[in-house]
């Protein structure tokens, strides 16, 4: 079965979704990611969906779930590179992914995770969201 590769990037994990997501792929990713966060002791998860052209409510919920799970495991999730059409679709579906942090591209997302890590080491209470 296809799996989406998860790359280790310092103490963050990088997931690039390059193919159309179907439901089993999404559940597999959720499981893989959870175990990798624990095994790699990751503090941040970066999901790049710039190649994703089609989303449905299931994928939207999956993103929310991943964020919730990583939060419990003390890792920040940043979704980057969402296309305008995808953003509009998600909003129209009523999924505004309030638990997920977002950034425009991988570079900014990485910077965001690094900032958070630096900030959380200094002061855990300094969390704006």
């Amino acid at each position: 079965m296809d799996r989406i590769p998860i790359l280790k990037f310092g103490n963050a994990l990088l997931v690039t979704i390059q193919v159309d997501m179907h439901d089993r792929l999404a559940t597999a990713l959720e499981e893989d990611l959870t175990s990798r966060i624990v095994s790699n002791n990751a503090r941040g998860v970066l999901i790049d969906i710039s190649a994703l052209e089609v989303v449905d409510s299931f994928i939207g919920r999956m993103l929310d779930n991943i964020a919730a799970v990583s939060r419990i495991l003390d890792a920040d999730t940043v979704v980057v590179g969402m296309r305008p059409a995808v953003a509009i679709t998600l909003v129209e579906l009523g999924l505004s992914l309030t638990g997920v942090k977002t950034a425009l591209n991988v570079e900014r997302g990485m910077a965001m995770i690094h900032d958070r890590l630096a900030g959380s080491e200094a002061d855990d209470a300094d969390d704006e969201d």
Binding site: V79, M82, P84, A87, I88, V91, L104, N105, R108
Partner: protein
Amino acid sequence: MAGQVGSDVASLVTRNEQNILPEWVELQKNAGTLHTGRISEGELQSQSRNFLHLLRDALTQSGTDTLAAPYEPAKAMLTELSRSRALQGFSPSETATFVFSLKQPLFNALNRDKTLSGEQIASTVWSLTVLLDELGLFTLEIFQKSREEIIVRQQREIAELSTPVVKLWEGILALPLIGTLDSQRTQVVMENLLQTIVDSEAEIAIIDITGVPTVDTLTAQHLLKTVAAARLMGADCLISGIRPQIAQTMVHLGVELNVISKASLADAFAVALRQTGRAVVKARRIEGFALPEKSGRQGA
């Protein structure tokens, strides 16, 4: 019977074309079709001749049943004519006159024709009236449709024109909204904003609603949708330009925006600059910073 009337009228038209055509064109001219100079007399002549021929062919083949297939060419021609007249700015009655004014020349020709009995003439007149009425109404319907298409197109153009996205600074966009926000416009605004966010890699978008006359629960929902979509793309949104009355109405309605809102665009811009790690300071306060000769003050 219908087939009989059809072939009767068709042969009548063939025999009397020399009389019917000039009479018809004359009537149309009297009705003012040419007055504004939107179409030439030659054009009117050829349109009339074409239609008369198409009508004759249709009458020969299927009598007075306008729903039959042989009427398609005549209807297609009416559609074309109606559409072009709608674009040229003809009034509905001027357009319908094209068909309705054909009645008189046809009836005159019937009266002059000696081959038909009185009874036959009466039934033919009735069938012809029904036929021309149907075609006239068809013309009007197409005219109305064309006008509606024009209106829809103009609406779309206005919507596109009225939603510019302005770049205020590196990474800071402003979206000055003017006019009422309905769902269709929100869609255009949202698409524009999100595309510009991608293109200019913006971090912050300021939605300025100074030009929005009223904010009700629906408008607020549209605004929130835009904000949520921008957030999904990784850009923060600020809302500015909420006028005092609107602020009061919003509170009365129980509308909550749940985003940073500022009274004026300038305030929102200051917040945006601060969030992106910039600040505006008076130049003379910075030591060792020489002022340019001509401009007194400059922001940094």
